[in-house]
């Protein structure tokens, strides 16, 4: 069948199908492809636009505006965390950095032991991951491919004697330009946009882009409809037309933040847990200024990582990864004015960044609640992150570690994202110990959104049933995206979501009959 955009919908539509899927990213696209190729009538509703790769110009200004939620300006209510989440046919897979990890076994054990997850194990997902990884050409990078920026992190980790390894990426025919975050212009990134979405459409799925699902309707334990408002292609306004879909089974796959918001707009929150425990892998890092040109915007975003700090006992763990720098996103780092700020930004070509992803949500005393999603005007999600001492300690120590990596790699000076400088390990300790790490004190980036519709078996403490991904309150409603994770997954999450979706698609098929 086809993809239709908001420009092609000039009247209200009433549609019927076997499966209506809300969202076309890592969860929705996998389910759509699976069900469509099995002969089911599938309709996908996607809030974002259908952006073809020949229209990508690779500039941050244009591509963030087109491909990201809130034009790249999504943030927590207190502005302390910038949330980079995709919004397009293909979802966040269109703009992610292609880093691939399976969900660590220890994470799934934690979910079973502390969050009542039953009926879903690491072992059960392995065959799904294997199939998906083969389809998406997931391969480990070689050391000779690593760019200068990531090589700095590699050298620093090596000098410190810390764990280091090369990352896996889902690319095919990659030019290693480094512009994955602005959409892949040569279709090398094996995103949902160029893999499972075309396959789903060829198998008969219909995809409606620019269709924002306002709510679902239900009667008793049955979903009776999905109601979407159609948007314009340009200006992002509602056209006044609606799409109403009546399906045998409905799958919500709008991702963390948007799926809980959709359920809240639908007033479907019997446990009061919808939107609670949303986790972000809050990301900080350390920048090093080097004598030679690093050009941290050239070469793929990520090649190397370190597990050195994934077990910190009761304290918040973190993953170290190489990370790119671009003018728009890093131009906002410094806090200085005028000539001083310009001088700092002129260091860009000589800079390298080691990033740190914090593993939020693993506190067994339930202090780490992460973010809570509620609704604000227009039904938009309001995102309130609860800061804890654990988080602040994690931000401080991960910043210290990232700075040490840069210094050990030979940086002439290193600077924290608050703007402080250091030239020795002693200075790093002094500056890090003295710096503020509370909300608003340090720029925090979020590229991984998880939780808010936690899976489990107890309807009082979870939103969906971990044995099937079926919503506890409705028999014909499933949630299949990163929102079902009870904590963050501690690694870049795309493979975790693909595997989960592949496994859950069988339960959807059984429900369709």
């Amino acid at each position: 069948m086809t993809i239709r955009t908001g420009a092609q919908i000039d009247r209200d539509l009433e549609l019927t199908c076997d499966v209506c899927i809300v969202g076309s990213g890592a969860g929705g696209a996998v389910v759509a492809q699976r069900l469509a190729t099995q002969g089911k009538r599938v309709i996908v509703l996607e809030d974002g636009g259908f952006h073809q790769s020949q229209t990508f110009d690779l500039t941050e200004r244009n591509m963030f505006a087109r491909l990201y939620q809130d034009a790249g300006a999504r943030s927590t209510a207190d502005q302390s965390m910038s949330i980079l989440q995709g919004r397009a046919v293909g979802g966040t897979t269109v703009i992610n950095w292609t880093t691939c990890f399976r969900t660590p076994e220890r994470v799934m054990q934690h979910w079973a032991e502390h969050h009542g997850v039953e009926g879903l194990t690491h072992e059960m997902l392995v065959p799904h991951w294997e199939r998906i990884e083969q389809r998406l050409n997931v391969q480990q990078m070689r050391l000779d491919q690593v760019n200068k920026n990531n090589m700095v992190t590699w050298r620093g980790l090596d000098a410190l004697g810390w764990h280091k390894d090369l990352l896996y990426r889902n690319v095919k025919g990659c030019a290693h330009t480094g512009y994955c975050g602005m959409g892949c212009v040569i279709d090398a990134k094996q995103s949902m946009l160029v893999t499972f979405i075309p396959e789903a459409v060829e198998a008969g799925a219909d995809i409606y882009a620019n269709a924002w699902v306002e709510r679902i309707t239900y009667d008793g334990r049955h979903c009776t409809g999905v109601i979407a408002k159609v948007r314009t292609l340009r200006g992002d306004r509602f056209t006044g037309h609606t799409i109403t879909v009546r399906a045998t089974v409905t799958v919500l796959a709008g991702g963390a933040i948007n799926t809980p918001a959709m359920l809240l707009r639908s007033e479907l929150d019997p446990s009061g847990r919808t939107g609670k425990r949303t986790f972000f892998h809050p990301a900080v890092g350390g920048v090093g200024a080097h004598a030679e040109r690093i050009n941290p915007f050239v070469g793929s975003p990520q090649y190397v990582y370190s597990d050195e700090f994934v077990d910190r006992g009761e304290r918040m763990a973190f993953l170290l990864e190489g990370a790119p720098m671009f003018p728009m996103t890093t131009g906002g780092f410094p806090l200085s004015l005028g000539a001083e700020r310009q001088a700092e930004t002129e260091l860009l070509p000589y800079s390298s960044l080691t990033g740190a992803l914090l593993h939020d949500g693993f506190d067994i005393h339930d202090i780490d609640e992460g973010a809570s999603i509620s609704l604000q005007s227009g039904g938009r999600p309001k995102i309130d992150y609860k800061w804890t001492e654990r988080l602040v300690e994690g931000l401080r120590e991960s910043t210290r570690a990232a700075l040490r990596v840069q210094l050990a790699a030979g940086a002439q000076q290193v600077f924290g994202l608050q703007g402080f400088y250091a030239r020795t390990n002693e200075e790093i300790d002094q500056r890090v110990d003295a710096a503020r790490f509370g909300p608003g004190e340090i720029p925090i980036f979020v590229a991984h959104c998880m939780g808010g519709c936690a899976m489990g078996t107890d309807p009082a403490s979870s939103v969906v049933d971990s044995r099937s991904m079926r919503h506890h309150a409705l028999d014909d409603l499933f949630v299949i995206d990163g929102s079902v994770f009870p904590t963050s997954c501690s690694v870049n999450p795309q493979i975790s979501i693909y595997g989960l979706a592949s496994w859950a698609a069988e339960h959807v098929r059984e429900a369709v009959g």
């Binding site: 809130d70 300006a73 502005q79 025919g173 040569i186 906002g332």
Partner: protein
């Protein structure tokens, strides 16, 4: 999306944070950061723009300034040196809300400024590779996404 007054606040803040760095590189005035922010807010929509408008109003207010014995005039009516003093006072304030407002304004204006290609020569950034040349070089692997679109339809950015 921005009113004339809001545009003036953005321009005033941006011109202090990102003044002209060199004769051949424009400053925030030259790239018209206010217009660029306005375009960004077009994408975000009126509801999403509300937070930005609130921050601008809070920062501009002479009344808020007076509460901190900082100024009684609106920010846009101060001379450049006084504007710098006010910006630094918000940045280094002991009150978290003021620091957060500074960070939000600083990030918004500087990110917008450095997103403009005219500023790139000033920071040694060569810009992205030519997408057309890349597509020609990798033509054999391109996916025909246009074929998925309903006949007569239009994708975004086409």
């Amino acid at each position: 999306m921005l009113t004339r007054d809001e545009y003036a606040i953005v321009q005033s803040v941006a011109s202090r944070i990102c003044p002209q760095p060199a004769p051949d590189v424009p400053g925030a005035d030259g790239v018209d950061v206010g217009v660029q922010v306005d375009r960004l807010l077009e994408y975000v929509g009126p509801e999403g723009s509300a937070d930005v408008k609130t921050v601008l109003a809070l920062f501009e207010s002479g009344l808020v300034g007076a509460l901190f014995f900082e100024r009684v005039k609106p920010f846009t009516q101060l001379d450049p040196e006084s504007q710098d003093r006010v910006l630094l006072a918000w940045r280094d304030s002991s009150i978290a809300l003021r620091r957060t407002v500074y960070r939000a304004l600083s990030s918004l204006t500087a990110s917008t400024y450095y997103a403009d290609p005219r500023t790139w020569p000033g920071i040694g950034y060569p810009g992205p590779p030519n997408p057309t040349a890349l597509r020609e070089a990798y033509a054999d692997q391109l996916v025909n996404l246009a074929a998925l679109l309903e006949p007569g339809g239009e994708g975004e950015g086409a």
